[in-house]
């Protein structure tokens, strides 16, 4: 098996303002993201040879992207893989370029969610016997929080304070990001006193529901310098898909998610990362819930098992910390337009590696940045990890 390392590069990216975009439909969002990416790359729509669009419920085929961007009879593939949809669309686009089939392609992620009229996330489902418990995502991830506290013998009050610190951190980072949906600080007290959504997770333990889109222009690595000097190289792409093992195996523990570990292992190996804690300079991760972020600190090897809470207390993952996580505010502040989030994460790493992240630019000059995108529920995930680096 070959590695993706240094074979493709990102030469342009775009990201819409995320939020309750009552002013925009899915097409508007894609136009907004794509034209920022074109401009950033210095290319025209005519240059795009093929495209991948990640969307779960907004468009059913690749034609939505063609219609939005008026692309000229090029191949477009719609990609869907739960909440890791956008990362997978990006990944497939990278592979097509790495295979030498195309020189320059577009990867787009988009979701228009706020038109459903319901609160919370609405995921379309086909007809079924409908006997499974109605478990919106908070109830599913709360299963992991309950078990985490039990497993490590942490009183729930104490775990909730740790989780609150994660929410406070991400909200703080979001205040520095004009594209984020939520741009206000929250305090630990606010988080702890918020209404309960799915015990033990309160309102601020959950990410919001938003609309948004993000786009990346991917080229052969040896071509990238023709477009810009500060292009960003793809160093590793890992994807691991679960088959419901957690709900079938009675020894699955709910405090670590094997899909994260497998996906990270693949990506680290491709990128040549031996010690993620030391080598990864920043990470944008799938904080759909605060407990998810806590668990994946451990899954991604940022800290040892069970050490997550101590690292949170120590401020390791803050903007000023040793390994800043979710410098852009994360899903907590961007919300989670399912098909868009993965590429939105890449957008932040891309900007940070270029030193263009503005007030939230991390202090040291980053060499490697990581994105982590997770879809599904504890027990069965699509885990996606991508690693990016500056050119040497």
């Amino acid at each position: 098996m070959e590695s993706i390392r240094d074979r493709v590069a990102i030469i342009g990216m775009g990201c819409t303002k995320f939020g309750e975009r009552w002013d925009a439909d899915g097409i508007d969002l894609m136009v907004e993201a794509a034209y920022e990416a074109y401009q950033d790359a210095g290319i025209s729509p005519k240059d795009i040879q093929a495209a991948w669009v990640g969307t779960v419920g907004t468009f059913s085929t690749g034609q939505g992207l063609a219609e939005a961007l008026k692309l000229d009879y090029i191949p477009i593939t719609r990609c869907e893989n739960a909440c890791a949809t956008a990362t997978d669309a990006f990944r497939n686009a990278c592979y097509a370029v790495a295979a030498g089939i195309y020189d320059i392609v577009l990867a787009m992620g988009v979701e228009k969610q706020k038109d459903s009229g319901a609160s919370g996330l609405v995921v379309p489902r086909g007809p079924s016997s409908d006997v499974e418990p109605p478990t919106p995502p908070p109830a599913q991830f709360a299963l992991a929080a309950t078990r985490y506290a039990h497993h490590y013998g942490i009183p729930m009050d104490q775990l909730k304070r740790i989780l609150a610190k994660i929410a406070v951190k991400n909200h703080h980072n979001g205040t520095l990001n004009p594209k984020a949906h939520f741009q206000r600080e929250v305090t630990e007290e606010q988080v702890l006193n918020a209404p309960m959504i799915a015990w033990p997770l309160g309102l601020y333990d959950c990410c919001g529901v938003s609309d948004g889109a993000a786009a990346a222009i991917i080229v052969r690595a040896d071509w990238a310098k023709n477009f810009r000097d500060d292009y960003v190289l793809v160093k590793g792409l890992g994807l691991a898909v679960g088959g419901k093992q957690g709900l079938l195996h009675d020894d699955y523990d709910f405090i670590h998610f094997p899909e994260n570990i497998k996906a990270a292992h693949i990506a680290y190996q491709e990128a040549g990362v031996k010690n993620p804690r030391k080598e990864i300079d920043l990470a944008i991760v799938h904080d759909c819930f605060t407990i998810t972020e806590l668990i994946l600190y451990e899954d991604l090897g940022f800290t040892e098992r069970g050490r997550g809470p101590a690292e949170v207390e120590a401020g390791t993952f803050t903007l000023e910390g040793e390994l800043p996580v979710n410098t852009d505010g994360g899903l907590k502040c961007f919300g989670h337009p399912i098909g868009a989030s993965g590429i939105r994460m890449i957008y932040e790493v891309y900007k940070q590696l270029q030193g263009k992240a503005g007030p939230r630019q991390i202090k040291k000059t980053p060499r490697l940045g990581l994105t982590h995108n997770l879809g599904g529920r504890p027990g069965s995930f699509t885990g996606a990890v991508a690693i990016f680096g500056r050119r040497d």
């Binding site: 459903s116 009229g117 319901a118 609160s119 919370g120 609405v122 489902r125 007809p127 079924s128 016997s129 409908d130 006997v131 499974e132 418990p133 109605p134 478990t135 919106p136 908070p138 109830a139 599913q140 709360a142 299963l143 992991a144 929080a145 309950t146 078990r147 039990h150 209404p195 309960m196 959504i197 799915a198 015990w199 033990p200 997770l201 088959g243 419901k244 093992q245 709900l247 079938l248 195996h249 009675d250 699955y252 709910f254 027990g379």
Partner: protein, 468 residues
Amino acid sequence: MPGILACGAYIPRFRLGKETLGWGSPQEKAIANFDEDSVTMAVAAAQDCLRGLDRSQIDALYFATTTPPYLEQQGSALIAEALDLRPSVFAADITNNLRGGTIALRTALDAVQAGSARQALVVAADCRMSAPRGELERSLGDGAAAVLVGRDKGVAEVVASHTLTEHMLDTWRTPQDTFIRSWEDRFIMEEGYQRVVPQVVSEFSQKTGVVPKDIAKVALYAPDARRHQDMARRLGFRPEQVVDPLFGKIGNTGAAFTLMLLVSALETAKPGERILAVGYGDGGDVYLFQATERVGEVKQNRRLVSRYAEAKRILPTYETYTRWREVWVSEAARRPPPPVPSVSALWREKDENIRFYGSRCTACGYIQYPPQRVCTKCQTADQMTPIRLAETYGTVFTYSMDYLAGTIDTPLVVAVVNFEGGGRWLGMMTDRELHEVRIGMPVELTFRKLRTVGGIHNYYWKCMPVRA
């Protein structure tokens, strides 16, 4: 003579009682949870009855109720499936009659006597509703009873019986009515219950020569506590002969009532004792049973009336009860409406959903629910044997409590359950107290109604804290 081989009961966990805010009666009554109905309670009573018994001997099932979930659709067929009875079982619903329990008993005894069934299971359950605040509401209760009848000598033998059939509009309900209707109290008592019951009992006495002093216990139907006391006295029974009618505790459980009292009597009966059971509704039924030396077996592994009656919880408010019955309609969470379940999927998945079969891999032995084609452990394909998990106990591995799922009983407790002996399942928890839910909690499964959409009652299993 055919006899009773085993019996069981089910009484819902919840009660309205003097602590219930807004109820206004010192009396208690059992009320089904929002996810229970006559079918689910019948399944629970039958499970109690059949605990530890071989179900392959059951050739017939009779389900008696005045409150069937469907006017067209067989409740007994669903109950047979949930109990994992053989597909060749004969199943019949006996509905529309308050005396349904004793009618079903007669049908079962006849089938066994005639030889068309080796064993016949009678389940009676009711969940009758009267208008809120009505007199009837105080006396009615929800519950179920089950009796297994067979040719072999069981715990009690049937000695004699007598029946009277007479049409009477005393209480009634049309398909359009939610609540029971009734005619003037004095008329329906004097010309109905208080005339018919003495008549059928006296005819029975004349026929058999059996008089009250020959009887150890009487399981006597009555519409309410006062009428019960009057009737027992009028028939010549001394208070110590009278089986506690459960008024003020459980209430009048309709079609299940007489059988419930019979079960109650058998719980404490001594060998040789005779029990008279009297049912009423469009006539009357009288049965005389005699306990055998095996009567003590009634209690083996079973909860029966006594243990179910004790394991209770008083509902804090009457409002909660009216919400459960959808008499009080509250604003739902702003979530999409639930989809109409696919009937073809329900049909295809009946072994998984109703019989609650998981699968065990014959290659590696791993138990998994729902049943899998390819083993989740060893990846061997199509080497599975079905394994019923409905009677398997489990423990809570982890759980959460959802405040937004839009259930009547918020929060919805979702639990990951590990079964004793292997296998895991993610399901809903019912009949729970929030403060008692914890990791490691022992749970059992209970057949419940998830929701009704598009006129389809969707039944499935939930877990609940182990009862009594």
